[in-house]
């Protein structure tokens, strides 16, 4: 089955389609990954930078608000006189406008002047807030991220400590919590502090900040600014998270139950890279329950310690879904291509194999004897050429078969005519002997009158003619044995031409013999071959009108029919009347003659052909009406097989 051209064709087409499909699939997936996922990763990195900038912006805003407040003359004098009610009012207004979770004023002695919240008016306690202390120590503004311990938070406002508390939740991808069961009580905060000047004298420090723990507003704002609030399958594409160390303290990454993933930890890999080594980390990461394309960067507090991380990420599923979709489309295209290839292959195979099968059938027809096989319409291109060549071959086979059939028919004709001639000759010759004898005996008589003598002479002449005809028949039927000897063809032809020169001269026909160079010796029966040549030249003389020309030439020549065999060809060409086409195939038939009655027996060419064939040669004729005729006698140099 697989050896048929049809299946080969189909398999080839399928393999090509499969190969092209597979290559485009691989290339497509590779390009998709490189561009789409790569693009997404780039975007996430840019997002992280933007998010980081937003946080700094937030810090700057806090500081600006503090600055503006600290410059107010009412505020300065309120600090100066340490009016707790006034200060508390001012702080709460500031906190309200700048959305601060905590704020306070520290005196130059390091003691709290006023604070936001329930401890607002407890004065004189040492200020615990690190950023306030820092600004005071440096006598200059400070801003940034700070970590506030539970104590510091309580100190600030007990309510804050409660707000900042985050229950640590176990999650598989994270390192086990250092204090399992314990809540995270510290808080990360964005804060700023500015010195309060009265003239050029520092009279205190105003500080304030925003807790990051549970600060959904900030992370959601970051997310919304990054993703324009797009969502995928009900989940936001972009996510942002703030970490206190490796713990999520503000995030919009959700758990499968839809709640925010507060209190969960980052993976150990990210933690190592970002917190321990202080690097940015980006890449594909498993964030709780989904793969994300992520970027993390460390957060440093005002003292330069790495205290947490900022994360942004994009749900990878959107991109993997695009990839999967593209993959599906590629596979579908390939499959469709294969189906098309299969169908196309079948069609093509039928188109190609149809004529092939027809040709096979035609060959069978030829082998069964038909010479007009049905090969269907002749097509264009190579196949058409094959069809034409096939038909030419069939025609050639036909011609050869016809030629060999002709040969068989010819020799059968000769044989049957020979048998007939022998019988006739034998039967006729005896009575003819009587006729000849008595006619001649009568003619001897002296007492015959002129009329009787003339009559008897007519009988004698007619009888003589009969005798010649019968002799011709006998010669024809006799199949005389060859007496071959090596012969110089040119000498033989030349001698024969010499015998007929007078006859030609009388008729006024020029006979010209051009002997061929370096002809090999041919073994032949000289006298029989000479009679063949005589016959051909006499025929030519008869056909050629006075003033015409007979050319005879000899040349080496290969056998004209089939097998290549070396030989010699003798050509007798005349400028005579030519042979009518309808006579061409009767030319070698015994008794076929166009000469006037009594001028020829119609045996000459038939006998000549017999002689040439017994030499294993052949005679061909070419003739053109009105122009002349050419007879070609081909004789092999070496005869094959046994004696003729």
């Amino acid at each position: 089955m697989l050896t048929s051209i049809r299946s080969k064709l189909i398999v080839s087409l399928l393999s090509v389609t499969l190969l092209v499909g597979a290559v485009s699939l691989l290339t497509g997936v590779h390009l998709l990954k490189k561009h789409v996922i790569g693009e997404a990763a780039n975007r996430v990195e840019l997002d992280l930078t933007a998010a980081s900038e937003m946080i700094r912006e937030r810090v700057r805003l806090i500081r600006m608000a503090l600055n503006i407040t600290s410059l107010g003359s009412g505020f300065i004098s309120a600090v100066d006189v340490a009016n707790p009610d006034d200060l508390a009012y001012r702080l709460s207004r500031l906190a309200h406008h700048a959305k601060l979770d905590f704020a306070g004023i520290v005196g130059t002695n390091g003691k709290v002047l006023c604070r936001l919240g329930s401890n607002a008016k407890i004065q004189g306690v040492p200020a615990e807030n690190p950023i306030g202390r820092m600004a005071l120590e440096r006598q200059s503004p400070a801003e940034g991220t700070v970590v506030l311990s539970r104590e510091e938070l309580i100190h600030e406002d007990p309510e804050l400590a409660e707000r900042a508390r985050i229950a640590v939740r176990p999650n598989g991808a994270a390192e086990p919590a250092a204090n399992p069961g314990n809540d995270e009580t510290s808080s990360l905060a964005l804060a700023a502090a500015v010195p309060i000047f009265e003239g050029s004298r520092v009279i205190g420090v105003l500080y304030g900040g925003q807790l990051l723990n549970r600060n959904e507003t900030l992370v959601d704002m970051v997310r919304n600014r990054l993703s324009q609030a797009q969502s995928y399958k009900g989940r936001p594409i972009a996510t942002a998270t703030l970490f206190l160390n490796d713990l999520r303290i503000a995030t919009n990454v959700t758990l499968p139950d839809g709640s925010r993933a507060l209190g969960t930890r980052v993976s150990a890999e990210v933690k190592t890279a970002v917190l321990d080594q202080g690097r940015r980390w980006s890449g594909r990461a498993w964030v709780l329950s989904d793969w994300y394309i992520t970027a993390y960067e460390p957060l440093e507090d005002i003292f330069g310690r790495r205290v947490g991380m900022l994360y942004v990420g994009t749900l990878e599923e959107k991109y993997t879904d695009i990839q999967a979709k593209a993959l599906t489309v590629f596979i579908l295209i390939t499959a469709a291509g294969m189906i098309v290839a299969l169908a196309f292959g079948f069609l093509l195979a039928n188109r190609i194999m149809g004529p092939v099968h027809r040709l096979i059938k035609a060959s069978q027809q030829v082998s069964e004897g038909s010479l007009t096989p049905d090969i269907g319409p002749i097509l264009e291109g190579e196949f058409g050429r094959l069809q034409k060549t096939f038909m030419e071959m069939v025609a050639a086979v036909g011609r050869r078969r016809a030629a060999s059939e002709d040969k068989i028919i010819q020799s059968e004709k000769q044989a049957s005519v020979g048998r007939l001639a022998a019988g006739v000759a034998h039967e006729i010759n005896n009575p003819l002997t009587g006729v000849l004898t008595y006619t001649h005996m009568l003619l001897r008589r002296k007492d015959l009158n002129t009329e009787m003598r003339a009559d008897l002479e007519t009988i004698a002449a007619a009888t003589d003619r009969v005798r010649k005809i019968v002799k011709g028949l006998l010669d024809f039927s006799r199949q005389t044995k060859l007496d071959p000897e090596p012969t110089d063809i040119n000498r033989l032809v030349s001698a024969t031409v010499g015998l007929l020169e007078n006859q030609a001269l009388v008729k006024g026909v020029a006979v010209k013999f051009s002997p061929g160079d370096s002809l090999p010796m041919v073994t032949l029966d000289r006298s029989q071959m000479q009679s063949v040549l005589m016959n051909l030249i006499i025929n030519a003389l008869d056909a050629t009108p006075p003033g015409g020309q007979i050319k005879i030439f000899t040349a080496p020549g290969l056998s004209g029919n089939g097998a290549i065999q070396k030989g010699v060809e003798i050509t007798v060409a005349d400028t005579g009347s030519g042979i009518p086409p309808e006579h061409m195939d009767k030319l070698f038939d015994p008794f076929f003659t166009t000469k006037a009655v009594g001028q020829g027996t119609g045996l000459g060419l038939s006998v000549s052909q017999g002689i040439v064939q017994r030499h294993q040669g052949h005679i061909r004729v070419q003739s053109e009406m009105g122009k002349g005729t050419r007879f070609f006698v081909w004789l092999p140099i070496e005869r094959t097989g046994g004696k003729p």
Partner: protein, 125 residues
């Protein structure tokens, strides 16, 4: 001079007798090989100068006759005549010792030339 002519065809016998007797030969005619042999072997019969025989005859042919005659009368010259002179016939005739061969039909002159030339040779020998 006596000549024995053997042929199954009456007209040939008649023709030969007519030609040869006109020339003064004594002609014995036999229509078959058996009769020819009988004439030759008849007690007291004189042997002819020449035997003129056809080849193709029913019962026994000219070749048979020639073999018989050569066995009993090797000195008798034989002329073989045939209306169908194939190579084989001519060769066989020569092989069996025929003096010469003449093709039928012949004119009186041809027969006489042949017979006389053979008879002259026979006389010489």
């Amino acid at each position: 001079m006596k000549i024995l002519v053997v042929d199954d065809e009456g007209i040939v016998l008649l023709s030969c007798r007519r030609i040869l007797e006109a020339e003064g030969f004594e002609v014995q005619a036999a229509p078959s090989v058996d009769e020819a042999l009988a004439l030759l072997d008849a007690p007291g019969a004189t042997l002819p100068t020449l035997l003129l025989a056809d080849v193709k005859m029913p019962v026994h042919d000219g070749m048979y006759l020639m073999r018989q005659v050569k066995a009993t009368h090797p000195e008798l010259p034989i002329v073989i005549m045939s209306g169908y002179p194939t190579d084989e016939t001519v060769e066989n005739a020569a092989a069996f010792g025929a003096a010469t061969f003449i093709a039928k039909p012949f004119t009186p002159e041809e027969l006489l030339d042949t017979v006389l030339s053979v008879a002259r040779k026979g006389n010489k020998s």
